[in-house]
C-alpha cells in the first residue's frame, strides 16, 4: 500500500449490546445496507464482499463462506466473496484483503461486513470460547487459564515495572465511558467514576468487572476503494496514509516483554510512511480491551512517555475536549466487545470522525488519527494512520 492509494468512503453500524432477537444475518444485512446508503453508490457496483469472521458463530461463518452476503444484499455485480479472520487483528486483515482485490484490479468497490451475536451463548460458553481464543489448549487451558487472567497478568507486570496505579488504570475506564455516553450505539449508558471501578467485584486481579470488556451483539461495515475512485464518489474520503505491523507470539509466555509487547515499532513505521508524527494526530483510537494494554499502546503511539500514560488518562487529556481524544466510541470497555469487531468498530468510528459524521462525539476539525488492532493474546500489532487529506 502506498500513501493515499486506498480510501474508505462510507460506514454502517448497529447498536451494540444485548439483542437476542436480532440474528447474525440481520446484523450483517443492516450494517451492509447502511454502508451502501452512506456511500450513495449503486449496490450493483459493489464487486467484492469480505465477511469478517465471527469469533463464535460457526453457522454464520459457513453462510458467509458460501456466499450469503452478496445474495442477501442483492449485489448483482459481485465478482468476489470471501471470509477473512485474524481474530482481533481482523480489521487490519480485511483491509489487506480489500487492498489485494483493489490493487490487482480484481475489484473496484469492496464492502466489508462484521457481525457478532454473543447472546446465543451462556456466560460459561463465552468464557470457554474466549479461553480458546487467547490460551494454549495443551499448556495453558488445563491450568484454568482464561482471557481476563491474560489481561490481569499483563497489568500486574506493567504496574510493577512502571509504578502505574490501579486508580490510573481505572481512569481509562472512566475516560472510555465519557465517550460512550456520546455514542447512540454504545452498550453502556451510565456515568462511571474511578471509585466505582475500583470498588466493583474483582474478576481477575487487578481487574474488577468494570475493567474487563463486555461481550455484546453488534456489527459494523465499511466500503473501501482506491483513493482515486474515492474522490469521484464522495466529498470526504478517508485515506489510508501509513501502516506498520508486527507478529509476536501465540502463547503469551512467548512474548519477550509483557509490558511493551510489540507496538512501538509498527507505530513508528506507520508515522514514517504517513510523514506525520504523534503531534499531528487529532485522535487516538486505541484497541487494547483492558486498561493496562490501552495505556501501553497509547504510550507506544507516542502520546506519553513510558509509565506516564495512566496519569494522562487520569488528568482527563483523553476525554472529550481533551488534548488527545482517545477511544472516541468507548472501545471494548464501554461501547461493547463484539469479538473480532472491536477494531472494526474503532475503524468505522475513525472514518466517521474524519468525515465529520461522528455526531455528539465529533472532534471538531479532525484531520488525522492513529488506530490499531491485534488478535489473540495480543499476538500481533497493526497500527494505521488515517486522514481526510493526503499530507
Amino acid at each position: 500500500m502506498s500513501k493515499g492509494e486506498f480510501a474508505i468512503i462510507s460506514t454502517g453500524e448497529v447498536a451494540c449490546g444485548y439483542y437476542p432477537e436480532r440474528t447474525h444475518l440481520e446484523i450483517a444485512s443492516l450494517v451492509g445496507y447502511k454502508a451502501i446508503k452512506d456511500a450513495g453508490v449503486n449496490k450493483n457496483d459493489i464487486d467484492a464482499v469480505i465477511g469478517q469472521m465471527s469469533i463464535m458463530g460457526n453457522d454464520y461463518n459457513t453462510e458467509v463462506t458460501f456466499g450469503r452476503l452478496p445474495e442477501a444484499l442483492g449485489l448483482k455485480g459481485c465478482k468476489n466473496s470471501q471470509l477473512v479472520s485474524a481474530g482481533g487483528g481482523s480489521s487490519h486483515a480485511v483491509r489487506k484483503a480489500a487492498e489485494g482485490l483493489l490493487g490487482t484490479g480484481a475489484a473496484e468497490l469492496v464492502l466489508v461486513i462484521h457481525a457478532q451475536k454473543f447472546s446465543d451463548f451462556t456466560p460459561g460458553q463465552l468464557a470457554e470460547g474466549f479461553a480458546k481464543a487467547g490460551c494454549d489448549p495443551e499448556w495453558e487451558i488445563p491450568y484454568g487459564m482464561n482471557f481476563n487472567a491474560l489481561g490481569g497478568m499483563i497489568a500486574e507486570r506493567y504496574m510493577y515495572e512502571t509504578g502505574t496505579t490501579p486508580e490510573e488504570l481505572a481512569a481509562v475506564c472512566v475516560s472510555h465511558r465519557k465517550w460512550a455516553l456520546l455514542q447512540d450505539n454504545s452498550m453502556q449508558k451510565k456515568e462511571l467514576t474511578i471509585k466505582q471501578v475500583l470498588n466493583a467485584r474483582m474478576v481477575a486481579t487487578p481487574y474488577t468487572v468494570y475493567m474487563c470488556n463486555l461481550l455484546a451483539d453488534g456489527g459494523s461495515a465499511f466500503i473501501m476503494t482506491t483513493g482515486e475512485r474515492a474522490r469521484k464518489l464522495v466529498d470526504k474520503p478517508v485515506y489510508l496514509l501509513g501502516e506498520g505491523s508486527r507478529f509476536s507470539h501465540r502463547n503469551l509466555t512467548k512474548a519477550k516483554d509483557l509490558t511493551r509487547l510489540v507496538n512501538e515499532p509498527p507505530a513508528m513505521d506507520a508515522y514514517h510512511q504517513a510523514g506525520l508524527g504523534p503531534e499531528d494526530m487529532d485522535i487516538a483510537e486505541v484497541y487494547g480491551a483492558y486498561p493496562a494494554n490501552i495505556v501501553m499502546f497509547f504510550e507506544a503511539m507516542g502520546f506519553a512517555r513510558r509509565g506516564e500514560g495512566g496519569r494522562f488518562f487520569r488528568e482527563g487529556h483523553t476525554w472529550p475536549g481533551g488534548k488527545i481524544p482517545t477511544c472516541t466510541n468507548g472501545e471494548a470497555l464501554s461501547f461493547g466487545h463484539t469479538g473480532t469487531g472491536v477494531g472494526t468498530a474503532l475503524l468505522v468510528e475513525s472514518v466517521r470522525q474524519l468525515q465529520g459524521k461522528a455526531g455528539r462525539a465529533q472532534v471538531p476539525g479532525a484531520r488525522f488519527l492513529i488506530e490499531n488492532c491485534g488478535g489473540g493474546a495480543w499476538m500481533d500489532a497493526h497500527m494505521s494512520i488515517l486522514g481526510n487529506e493526503i499530507p
Binding site: 495443551e138 499448556w139 484454568g144 500486574e156 467485584r201 481477575a204
Partner: protein
C-alpha cells in the same frame, strides 16, 4: 478417571509426549536443541531458532521466579468455577524459559512478582500429571 476429572486435559502432540511422560515421574523435561542449544517451550516439531531436528530432553531444576500473576475470582471457564479464587502464574524457569501454571500452597494475596517458586506435580488422571508451582521453602 478422565470422566471424573471433568476438566480439560492437555492433548499431547507427537513432540510433547515425552514431556507428559516426564511429569508422571516428577520430572520437568525441556526440549533442548543439540545444534544451537535453544530450549523450546512449548516444544515444536523442530528447533524454532535454527530448524535443527537434533534435540535432547534435559531435566529442569524445577525452580524459577514469578514473572507475573493474576488471581481469578469470577468468570473462569465452567470446569474451573468451583476452584475460584485461584492464581495463575508465569514462571521464569532457571533454564531461561517461561511457563504458565497454577500457584499452590500459597494464599492468593501473598503471591508477588519475583517470588521464588518450585514445581509441584499434581496427578490429574492415570495418564496425566500437571505441573503446578509453590513458594520455595513452603512445607508440603
Amino acid at each position: 478417571m478422565t470422566i471424573e476429572y471433568g476438566k480439560p486435559l492437555p492433548q499431547a502432540q507427537k513432540w510433547s509426549k515425552t514431556f507428559w511422560e516426564g511429569t508422571k515421574e516428577k520430572k520437568l523435561l525441556l526440549k533442548k536443541c543439540k545444534t544451537c542449544g535453544n530450549i523450546d517451550f512449548p516444544p515444536y516439531l523442530y528447533c524454532t531458532e535454527c530448524m535443527s531436528t537434533e534435540y535432547e530432553w534435559i531435566e529442569s531444576s524445577q525452580k524459577g521466579t514469578v514473572y507475573s500473576f493474576s488471581t481469578t475470582y469470577v468468570g473462569a471457564p465452567p470446569a474451573f468455577a468451583g476452584e475460584q479464587p485461584y492464581t495463575l502464574v508465569f514462571v521464569d524457569l532457571v533454564e531461561g524459559v517461561r511457563v504458565l501454571s497454577r500457584m499452590v500452597n500459597c494464599d492468593p494475596l501473598d503471591v508477588r512478582i519475583g517470588m521464588e517458586v518450585e514445581a509441584v506435580f499434581e496427578t490429574a488422571t492415570d495418564d496425566v500429571t500437571l505441573v503446578m508451582f509453590r513458594p520455595v521453602n513452603s512445607n508440603r
